[in-house]
Each structure stands twice: as structure tokens, then as C-alpha cells.
């Protein structure tokens, strides 16, 4: 009994000191997870290749032989400039969509998500850390395409345009990060890869990231106009033409973001209650 008494007393004291030193903020704790997620991403050669190198390579394959004078459809842009935005958008899309969906699904299955719920990390912290680390990887994937386009295909823009392009494509990728989270909580195990791939290729092709939608038949073009990827790439093209992004595209993208984020939040809550 005496033993217990002393133990309880020390225990109590340590708790008191704890109260003084406890300045743990959720932001700080999520920061540790973001850091580790980043280390993992940078170690994953396959992921890095597909999100950072692959879009730049595709750009060279598609726009490599094109000249800088022929306009793509009625876009007002030549092939290199047109495809630069497409591929930068595609790269960012790859990083955030793939990074979120597959990993969340896999980690739900392995029980890591459950393990994290036994820490003081707030529930949202996991999703935020995933998205933040994906966003860090998506930035180089945008910049690498720009650098290749500028060096190899002599794409020239004003300084503000480069900055605005980077910012718009980066911010727009949030829409697909939310989609990735939703897919990660919707699909399980074996299903997540096919589901992600279908969405990924479907959105990329239909939204005109791989080839201009001007080459599509009329009915497909009108369908493509409503895809989030089409609106996403349109943000960048408006900036390349020296304009502000069109309100219609911004509204469409924000609407998609709202739908994806609401879906992700709903699926996340459902998953949490299921334990």
C-alpha cells in the first residue's frame, strides 16, 4: 500500500508539471506527420517518377515536334504553350490524386489509420497531412514541366504569368486532392487502384489534358466542357493569354471541390464510426 501511495503522488506531480509544459498544438503535431509523409514520398521512386518526371516526358513526346506558330483549335495558343499547361496540370493531378487515394485506402486496410486514432493527432490531421505532403510533391511536378517547356520549346511568358500559373495550377489541384481522399475512403484494398486509374485517365483524357478537346467529336466536346480537369487546365490557359481565369471555370472547379470535399468528409466520418 505504501508503495502505491508514493507512486500515486509522483504520478500526480508529473501531471502537474505536464500542465505547464503542454504547449502542443494540433498544427505542430500534424507537422511531424507531414514531414514523415514527405520523407516517404521522396523515397518512393515510382511515385516520384510518375508525378514529377512523367508529365515532363509526355510534354516532350506530344509537343516536342510541334512548332510555335500553329494555333491549337481556337485556343489562341500554340501547341507547346497549350500542352505545357495541360501537362503541368496533369502532373499536379497525378501527385495529389494518386498520393491520396491509394495510400489512404492501403493504410485504412493495414490498420495504420486506426493506430493514428490512438494518438492525440486530431482525426482531420491525417487527411490534412496526406494532402499537404501531396501538395509539396505536386509543386516540383508543375515546375519541371515549366522548365522543360521554357528550355526545350522556348515558351516565353512574363514573370507574373509564370507565378500566376504556378499558383493557379497548384491551388486548383486541391480539388483533386479532395477527390483522392474521397476515393481513399470509398474503395478498399484491391479496388482502389482500378478505381483511381479509371478516374485518373478518364479525367485526364476527357478534360483534354493529353490532347486538345478540339479534336473530339462535338458531343464529347460538350461533355468535356463540364469536367473538372477541363476547367482546371482552362485556368492556366487564360493566364497564358494574359487574362485572369474565367469566372465560369473557377465556379465549376470550386463547385467540384465542394462536392468532392463534402463526399470525402462524409466517407471519412462513416469510416471513423465503423472503427
Amino acid at each position: 500500500m505504501t508503495n502505491h501511495t508514493s507512486n500515486l503522488t509522483t504520478n500526480h506531480t508529473s501531471k502537474l508539471t505536464m500542465n505547464h509544459t503542454s504547449n502542443h498544438t494540433p498544427g505542430f503535431t500534424s507537422g511531424a506527420l507531414v514531414k514523415l509523409e514527405l520523407i516517404r514520398s521522396l523515397r518512393n521512386k515510382k511515385f516520384l517518377f510518375f508525378s514529377v518526371m512523367y508529365p515532363a516526358m509526355l510534354f516532350l513526346i506530344i509537343a516536342g515536334g510541334a512548332d510555335a506558330t500553329t494555333e491549337v483549335g481556337d485556343s489562341g495558343l500554340a501547341m507547346p504553350a497549350f500542352m505545357m499547361v495541360s501537362m503541368a496540370s496533369f502532373g499536379a493531378l497525378t501527385a495529389v490524386l494518386m498520393g491520396n487515394s491509394e495510400r489512404i485506402a492501403k493504410e485504412r486496410q493495414s490498420g495504420w489509420v486506426r493506430q493514428l486514432r490512438l494518438t492525440s493527432l486530431p482525426g482531420r490531421g491525417y487527411v490534412l497531412a496526406k494532402t499537404a505532403s501531396a501538395a509539396v510533391v505536386s509543386l516540383p511536378s508543375i515546375v519541371v514541366v515549366f522548365v522543360v517547356a521554357a528550355l526545350v520549346k522556348d515558351v516565353r511568358l512574363d514573370a507574373w504569368q509564370w507565378l500566376a500559373l504556378t499558383g493557379a495550377i497548384w491551388a486548383g489541384s486541391l480539388c483533386f486532392a479532395a477527390l483522392g481522399v474521397a476515393v481513399g475512403y470509398l474503395a478498399t484494398g484491391d479496388a482502389v487502384r482500378p478505381v483511381t486509374m479509371i478516374l485518373y485517365f478518364g479525367l485526364s483524357v476527357l478534360g483534354g489534358l493529353w490532347m486538345p478537346t478540339a479534336t473530339f467529336p462535338g458531343w464529347l466536346q460538350s461533355l468535356a466542357d463540364w469536367t473538372p480537369t477541363h476547367a482546371y487546365a482552362a485556368l492556366g490557359r487564360a493566364i497564358e493569354l494574359g487574362d485572369a481565369p474565367h469566372a465560369g471555370d473557377v465556379v465549376l472547379l470550386v463547385a467540384y471541390f465542394a462536392v468532392f470535399a463534402a463526399g470525402a468528409a462524409w466517407l471519412y466520418r462513416k469510416d471513423t464510426l465503423k472503427a
Binding site: L8, N11, H12, S14, F28, L36, R117, L118, S120
Partner: protein, 324 residues
């Protein structure tokens, strides 16, 4: 009942009433999955400094109970509180460390990186090196988590559960996949945790672990608490003792003798193995008395108390019989 008295004494001796109040409190907690009632009106309290084993056959509701305790699931009715708050609040405050069977690990990272994360996430963290050493994984620190054996991963899970100064440690089948040495080292560490005034709750299949380690044993069956006491009390509650002896007469193969053995009073189990007879009796004295009354000469007679395992089987079997 002895147990309750001890608790009260502890509370009084502790003086610090907040710490000595129950660490975990379940009040008429019910949880169903569809038709299946996993936890059925469970009421229990755990106190700081206790090492408590949670026993029960598969499907008894052990995992569901731990899930409710950790706030991973919400009860259909009743309340679960941990240190007077909700489970989630207690975890956020860094008072609870838990190691679940279903808890996965992040892959593609090293053991040290993962432990460092656990320390960073804990409001009252220990030093990373200490945590590694404590879990016995210092030598594994630079290995990739997904390259470890089952037992090694189990120790990493333990490290994650003890990354900070918790007041309650919850362990679900913690020694699964560990060899005997690792298991002993593990329990030595757990003992230290309890001696420091923490409450330790563990679910296990190894009854000898519960017998040797726990100072309180909870027997769960069909989501209800069947027994709550020290291992000795549980064994007494099973109320049975083992009687074993050899019988030369059985070598001759006398079917009538075997029938008469089965008719001895107070038997709860009978086993005849060659010429060896093993009985379980709720009143061993009366059984042995009647045995001699059969006019036979049993050799190597032994009367002994049940092991916890047998007591456990006896208690749950009695409950099954009641339910049927």
C-alpha cells in the same frame, strides 16, 4: 469483494483523489452489430496501479470492449469514461497508450522514424532513444518497418503505445508472435509500468500470462462480465478441483467400473486415459470419499486446484449450459 476493499484503501492512501478515482469506467454499456450483441450491459471500473487481464473466448466481446474504451466505437447505450472524460479527450490529453492487434504500421519508414513520430504526437513524450530501448528495438532502429518479423513489429507497436507518459496502457493480445524470451522481457516492462502507478489492461489468450501477471482478472462472455477478481478468486469461483489417480482394475477393461466412476458425486468432468482417471469435482472431499466407497484401490491419488485456464473453461462452460 476483496478486490473492492483494496481499491478503496488505495484511494484513501493515494490522497490525490483525482488520480485515485477510476481510470476507466463502463456504466451499463451496450453495443450491438446488427443482431449480435457484442457488449451487453457491461459495468466495470479500473483503477490506477492495477494490472488487469481481460479474458474470454473468441467472440466474447473483448475487442469490442477495448474499441469502446478507446473511443474507436461509440456505445449504443451507457457511458464509457476514461479519467473522468470521454475516451477521445483522454487520448488527446496523452493519458492513454494503446496497442491493438488491428493496429497497423506505416510502411516505407524506419523504426526510428516511426517512433519519433509517435513521440512528436504525444503531449508528454519520452525521449526517442528511451522508447526504443524500453521496447527492446534499439538494434532495429534503422530497419524498415515493413521488413520486420511479426514479433518485431509487435514490439514496434508496443513502442508506439509507450511513446509518452501514459496513465493507462491498453494492450490487445500483446505477446502474439513473440518468443518466450521476448514475452518475459515484455511483461517485465509492463510490470514496471504498473508499478509506476499506471493502469494496465490487457486482453490475452495465454491464460498463464493472466495468472502470472495480472492482479485482477475479468472474464468476459457473450459481452457480459462473468467474473471479476484475482486469479485465485476466479479459480475458487470455478469451484472445482482436479482429482486424478491410476486404477489397475481398468487395465482389465471393466466397462462397469468406468460407468461407476462416472456416477461419482459432484463431478463436473470425467476423463479416462488408459488406466489413468482424471476428474473435476465441485466437492473433491466428497468425491474421494465415494471413490474409496467403490471398494477399489486408486494409486497415485492427487487432488489439486484448477489452473486458471481450467477455471476459465469451467466458468464459461457453466454459463453456456445456463444459456442453453
Amino acid at each position: 469483494m476483496v478486490h473492492m476493499t483494496t481499491t478503496v484503501t488505495r484511494t484513501a492512501a493515494g490522497g490525490a483523489t483525482r488520480t485515485a478515482a477510476s481510470a476507466v469506467s463502463f456504466e451499463r454499456v451496450t453495443k450491438s452489430y446488427g443482431e449480435v450483441r457484442a457488449v451487453d450491459g457491461l459495468t466495470l471500473d479500473l483503477y490506477p496501479g492495477e494490472t488487469v487481464a481481460l479474458l474470454g473466448p473468441n467472440g466474447a466481446g473483448k475487442s469490442s470492449t477495448l474499441d469502446l474504451l478507446l473511443g474507436l466505437r461509440r456505445p449504443d447505450s451507457g457511458t464509457v469514461s476514461v479519467f473522468g472524460t470521454s475516451p477521445r479527450e483522454a487520448i488527446t490529453a496523452g493519458r492513454v497508450g494503446a496497442m491493438l492487434q488491428s493496429g497497423g504500421l506505416m510502411d516505407e519508414v524506419t523504426v526510428r522514424e516511426l517512433v519519433r513520430l509517435a513521440c512528436a504526437l504525444h503531449p508528454r513524450p519520452h525521449r526517442v532513444d528511451e522508447v526504443l530501448a524500453h521496447a527492446g528495438i534499439t538494434q532495429l532502429a534503422d530497419r524498415k518497418v515493413d521488413k520486420l518479423s511479426g514479433g518485431q513489429q509487435q514490439r514496434v507497436r508496443f513502442a508506439l503505445a509507450t511513446a509518452g507518459a501514459n496513465d493507462l496502457v491498453v494492450l490487445d493480445e500483446p505477446t502474439t508472435g513473440m518468443d518466450v524470451t521476448a514475452r518475459q522481457a515484455f511483461w517485465a516492462t509492463m510490470r514496471e509500468q504498473a508499478d509506476q502507478g499506471r493502469a494496465v489492461l490487457f486482453a490475452t489468450h495465454y491464460l498463464e500470462e493472466a495468472d502470472a501477471i495480472a492482479d485482477r482478472v475479468l472474464v468476459l462472455h457473450r459481452g457480459r462480465l462473468l467474473a471479476d477478481g484475482t486469479a485465485a478468486e476466479i479459480k475458487a469461483k470455478a469451484g472445482a478441483r482436479k482429482v486424478s489417480f491410476d486404477l489397475e482394475e481398468l487395465r482389465a477393461g471393466d466397462p462397469d467400473l468406468e460407468r461407476r466412476l462416472r456416477e461419482l458425486p459432484f463431478l463436473s468432468a470425467v476423463g479416462v486415459f488408459g488406466h489413468t482417471v482424471r476428474l473435476q469435482s465441485t466437492d473433491a472431499d466428497a468425491t474421494v470419499h465415494a471413490l474409496y466407497g467403490l471398494g477399489i484401490y486408486p494409486r497415485n491419488l492427487e487432488v489439486a486446484g484448477l489452473g486458471l485456464e481450467q477455471a476459465f473453461v469451467a466458468i464459461t462452460a457453466a454459463e453456456e449450459a445456463k444459456a442453453a
